[in-house]
Structures are given as structure tokens and as C-alpha cells.
């Protein structure tokens, strides 16, 4: 998975592209841990995200818990394939998702 970051003040946009599988989730969490200090608004642009496994869901859950303490988080442009997994696991109720 590729991550493109764009920071504008306390707003951080991360454009995710490719597959958020178990291998990618390790790097994703490292990247998040290194990027979120002082961020109050976190936006994931998921337009190019094609696949998510349970390890990736776990990453989203962890970052949502953190962002609840310091601001907000939203997922945008979620594709059908990824949305299906989010819905199946009830994550559509836990995360703020804009299709």
C-alpha cells in the first residue's frame, strides 16, 4: 500500500492506495504513530484503496480510538469492496465514513 501525506495546519490527509493487508498494516501503524502528534483532523482518502484485511481494520480501530482523544477522523471515497468488509464487521457504525 502507498501512503501520500498532506498536512495543512492541524489537518492531516492520508491518501491510501493499494492493498491494506497484514504486511502493509505493520508499516501503516508505524506511519500513523509517527504522524499524529498535534493532528486534530485526520482524513483518509480511500479512493484508491482496493482491499482491507482484519489487520487493517485493527489499524483503523486503533487510530480512531486515538483520534477520539485528540480530534476527529473521517474516511472518504471508500470503494465498494472495502465498504463491504467494513459493513460486514460493523465497522461502518464505529468509524465516520463518507462514501
Amino acid at each position: 500500500m502507498d501512503i501520500k501525506k498532506e498536512q495543512n495546519g492541524t489537518t492531516l490527509t492520508m491518501a491510501l492506495s493499494g492493498r491494506l493487508d497484514t504486511v502493509a498494516a505493520v508499516d501503516f501503524e508505524k506511519e500513523l504513530n509517527a504522524s499524529l502528534d498535534g493532528v486534530e483532523s485526520l482524513i483518509f482518502d480511500c479512493a484508491e484503496l482496493t482491499y482491507v484485511a482484519s489487520s487493517g481494520l485493527r489499524s483503523f480501530l486503533m487510530v480512531q480510538k486515538r483520534m477520539n482523544k485528540q480530534g476527529k477522523m473521517v474516511m472518504r471515497h471508500v470503494q465498494d469492496a472495502v465498504m463491504e468488509v467494513l459493513t460486514m464487521t460493523g465497522f461502518d457504525d464505529l468509524l465516520q465514513i463518507e462514501k
Binding site: 493487508d21 497484514t22 504486511v23 482496493t50 482491499y51 484485511a53 482484519s54 489487520s55 481494520l57 485493527r58 480501530l61 486503533m62 480512531q64 480510538k65 477520539n68 465498494d80 469492496a81 463491504e84 468488509v85 460486514m88 464487521t89 460493523g90 464505529l94
Partner: protein, 140 residues
């Protein structure tokens, strides 16, 4: 039906090779959604084995594959000689819990159960044997 077999070290970094084998009989006519489901099921099962089956020694996984898009569906059998463990005994996660209450794990096996038509575990000759079958329908 022809059965192919693939043996590989149970390490997470081997995931791309395992997925390539598992989807090896699917053709260009296979709906992308069904292919994605097969990839996801394969990932969840293989990563579970790679993470938990051989905590000390490391070890191997054997995967048997038969069928594909035909009426019998695609059957994948995952065999490991690690710690005896029946993932199907694990209770399904409570999807109604709030964000703070949600445990971070336990979703992989649930996804497998949701995405296949048949799933079966047996402990046989000292091995964990997990069989999944998925019908690849046109509606997917």
C-alpha cells in the same frame, strides 16, 4: 477433480505467494468481488497459522486446492502441524459493542465464516486441517 498442492514456510511475508496459489485456478472471467473474497479468506487463515501455530520452532503450511469457478466451487485445505487449534470454536465478535469496548482482534475468523459457503476443521494425524469451500457465483 484435480488437486494441486503447495507447501511453504508459515511466515507472514510469504502471504503474496500463498494468495497467488490459492487464486491460481480463477480465470479472467471470475468476478473481482469473488476473487477478493478468496484472497481475504486465504489471508486470514494463513496469517493466523503464521502467527500462532508455531510459536517456538517455525514450521510449514500445506495448501491443497481443487476446483474454481465451476459448480463445485473452489476448495482450499490448509494443513499445519502446529499447536492443535480449532479457530471455529472461537465465539463470533459482538458487532454491537461501542468503539471503546471493541477488542482489537477476533475479526479474521469471523470474516472467513461470512465469506465462504462451507468451513470445516478437523485434527487429523497430528495436523490442523481447515477446509473452506466457496461457490464463485455470477452474482458476486
Amino acid at each position: 477433480m484435480k488437486t494441486d498442492e503447495f507447501r511453504i514456510e508459515a511466515k507472514v511475508e510469504n502471504l503474496p505467494d500463498v494468495i497467488a496459489f490459492a487464486t491460481g485456478t480463477l480465470t479472467d472471467r471470475c468476478p473481482l468481488r469473488a476473487r477478493m473474497h478468496v484472497e481475504l479468506v486465504t489471508e486470514e487463515i494463513f496469517v493466523n497459522i503464521a502467527s500462532y501455530a508455531y510459536p517456538e520452532t517455525g514450521g510449514f503450511v500445506t495448501i491443497r486446492r481443487s476446483g474454481g469457478e465451476g459448480p463445485e466451487g473452489l476448495t482450499l485445505i490448509f494443513i499445519d502441524g502446529g499447536i492443535p487449534y480449532d479457530p471455529l470454536q472461537k465465539p463470533d465478535p459482538d458487532l454491537t459493542l461501542s468503539l471503546e469496548e471493541r477488542p482489537v482482534g477476533g475479526l479474521g475468523v469471523f470474516l472467513v465464516k461470512e465469506l465462504v459457503d462451507e468451513v470445516r476443521y478437523e485434527h487429523k494425524d497430528g495436523n490442523n486441517v481447515l477446509t473452506v469451500r466457496k461457490i464463485i457465483g455470477d452474482d458476486e
